[in-house]
Amino acid sequence: MQQTFFFQAMVYLASAVITVPIAKKLGLGSVLGYLLAGIIIGPAGLEFIGQEGTDIMHFAEFGVVIMLFVIGLELEPSRLWHLRKSILGMGGVQVGATSLVVAGLAILFGIDWKQALALGMIASLSSTAIVLQSLNEKGLMKTAAGQSSFAVLLFQDIAVIPMLALFPLLASDTNVPVVEGGHSHTTLVDSLPAWLQPFVVLGSVAAIIAVGRYATPPLFRIIARTGMREMFTATALLLVVGIAVLMTTVGLSPALGTFLAGVVLANSEYRHELESDIDPFKGLLLGLFFIAVGASIDFQLVMANPGLILSLVLGIMACKLIVLFLLGKSFSLSNNQNSIFSFGLSQVGEFAFVLFSFSLQEGILSKEITDMMTAVVAISMAFTPLVMLLNEKLMLPRLTVKQDEPEKESDLVEQDNPVIIAGYGHFGSTIGRFLQANNVQATVLDSNSDNVDYLRRMGFNVFYGDASRHDLLEIAGAARAKVIVIAIGDEAKRLELIETIKKHFPELHILVRSTNRYDAYDLMNAGMLHIYRETLDTSLRVGVDALTLLGYRAHEANRSAKTFFIHDERTLKRLSAIRNDDEYVHAVRETQSELEQILQADRTAESLRVDEGWDEGSLIAENNELVK
């Protein structure tokens, strides 16, 4: 058993590791890579996986659930409210119109109206997984097309629930035999009296909101304080899995439940950390899901009626595309945005598989139809990356040239702050306050959860997380920020963070705090240009006040301090250049000899001469000579 599990895991991982990078390299996108991997290892190819493909698909659908959680995390409730028109308007019209058009055509081809309506509704759904993954990969999520796609997909996900409720009514008493077996769809709720059911459903939604809002932040705080990252990941997963279980129990879509939880948690300080912890699971499970879709394409069936299947695929996609394009037009999407939107959503989605098996059990559709349609849906999903690529390469260049209408303002604008401050203790918070006083917003990362909690209650925009992780930096907007201030107190952590930034975000300007001269040398070796010794300015201010108390004029003492400051920075640079590694060994002696060197440099420094323009000595001397 274990043997087969490892072997299976190896096959899936190997196929993905080989095909996905190749597909990416060829510009096909990762989704197509996974689908190809599935086809290759599936029954049609190397036959590594057979019938269990569909089981894996059910398991991998959990990837979609996690994905909606992550999407929810990025959508604050206020932004969701902004999107309400697009979700209800575009989504509603899309599902309604596509269902009717496809159903109408099916009736024309002589299919019973009940079956036709079921097929229409199934066909109106698109693939959340494929579309969002592809749009994300192309960086199109923030565009008008991305936002519209998201709104429509969200509505579709919600629409599945009434569809499941509606389908039993479509069960015809005529010719289709009811297939027994499969997994039963009786849920806990079904066993309750009818009047109680809506309350249970509403109650669980309310429970998710209440738990997300009030129970999870303290829980995460406790977990974060343990300092064990894997516990944080485990808690995040537990949250998602728990919601999925709850939702399935009451008969709601798990994806919808986790999405809701994500939205509730979008305002919390743990959002970035949650997102980066969950992200790898999302990616892998979605990948598995795409592989399963690829593997589930029944090529024997396809080969038996290639013409019929192909025309069904193209016909349905064309129907969807036309409806979507008209919809985009009426919601005033510009032409090129509209083509991304309508080509992108033209496939039939993964919910179709669920609805097919459901309608098979309910006796709505016959086995021949669902088998054939399953292949059609899988192929349409596989076509999607190709269609999007085609649109990108052929349609968009033409549309973009004559584009003159202004692009629709995106409803959802990610807060891209120009500054990231890593470490928000006394050092970092002063910087943050100063920037805020000048109306510059900063994204703040801090790994002290107590600190984060307190600052957030004070109304600061602070997130919990270890800044040296590149995924967290990515989410904090490091790719778009201009400046990062490293104000962390831990020297080793700072160097780690610098390495990460240099590797992943080379464009970012780095301003870094340093503890002392020796730390500053290390930072210089790491290639830092902007280094701020945390004690230098303060010590000099003390020196100035000491001089003033001794009777020096304040202005002169101040200028002298500034001169000393510049001189000291120069000495630091010079000494860092002549330092060698052996000296590290004798740290104590080195400190001694270095202080000597510094004092020597002070004594002979040409750069310490100051303000000679205000010195009248030479003038007086010259005048005296003239008098003589």
């Binding site: 200028r559 500034k562 510049i566 303000d611 000679e612 323009g613 205000w614 030479s618 003038l619 010259e622």
Partner: protein, 203 residues
């Protein structure tokens, strides 16, 4: 060709209308170096060595600034105090600047009529610039007549643009040594020389 150094001083450039445009007109000029003093020395701590080197590398030093309280913004005065050292810029052994040209490019809020004996400011602008003129003389430099943009309290975009173009003409004339063909020492303001400069340019 002569090399020109523009010593530019505006303590709040983001609030300026005139100088932002003027400075744009000289940014990409050949042989012109713009030294933005408030940007280089935000705490008025002038690097004397650097400034002296810059001055030595150029033949013509222009001070560009808005007239505040009948004089320059503080950093220009600080610059004179600290950079023009005895026995470097002046004094028996101070010949570093000898033979160079120096001038002022200024803007003032009031119109030309306010700088008349009958006007609010009572004296003409060139008299307020006497310290510059005499400093040039003490450092053995030739003092150029000042270029003045008047009336910035009520100035239009069009006039600012014209002033920018005039500034450009002046800079190119200075860079190409075309000024010596004119009797520039007779002029009180550079503005008077502009029509002649254009004809000289045609030749």
């Amino acid at each position: 060709m002569a090399r020109i150094l523009i010593q530019f001083a505006h303590p709040a450039l983001s609030k300026s209308q005139v100088h932002r445009v003027l400075i744009d007109y000289c940014r990409n000029q050949k042989n012109v170096t713009v030294n933005d003093l408030y940007e280089s020395y935000p705490d008025m701590f002038i690097d004397v060595d650097r400034e002296q080197k810059l001055v030595l590398q150029n033949d013509i030093i222009l001070f560009q600034f808005p007239l505040y309280w009948y004089s320059s913004p503080a950093i220009i005065k600080q610059w004179f105090d600290l950079v023009l050292e005895h026995n470097w810029a002046y004094g028996s052994r101070g010949n570093a600047l000898a033979g160079k040209k120096m001038g002022c490019i200024i803007s003032c809020g009031g119109g030309p009529d306010t700088y008349l004996p009958t006007g609010r400011n009572h004296y003409p602008v060139d008299q307020f610039l006497l310290p510059f003129e005499q400093t040039a003389r003490l450092c053995k430099m030739q003092y150029l007549p000042p270029f003045v943009v008047y009336g910035t309290f009520h100035i239009t975009k069009e006039v600012i643009r014209q002033s920018g173009e005039q500034y450009q003409t002046i800079l190119s004339a200075l860079a190409n040594d075309r000024l010596n063909a004119l009797n520039y020492q007779e002029a009180t303001y550079f503005n008077e020389l502009l029509p002649d400069l254009q004809t000289v340019g045609q030749v």
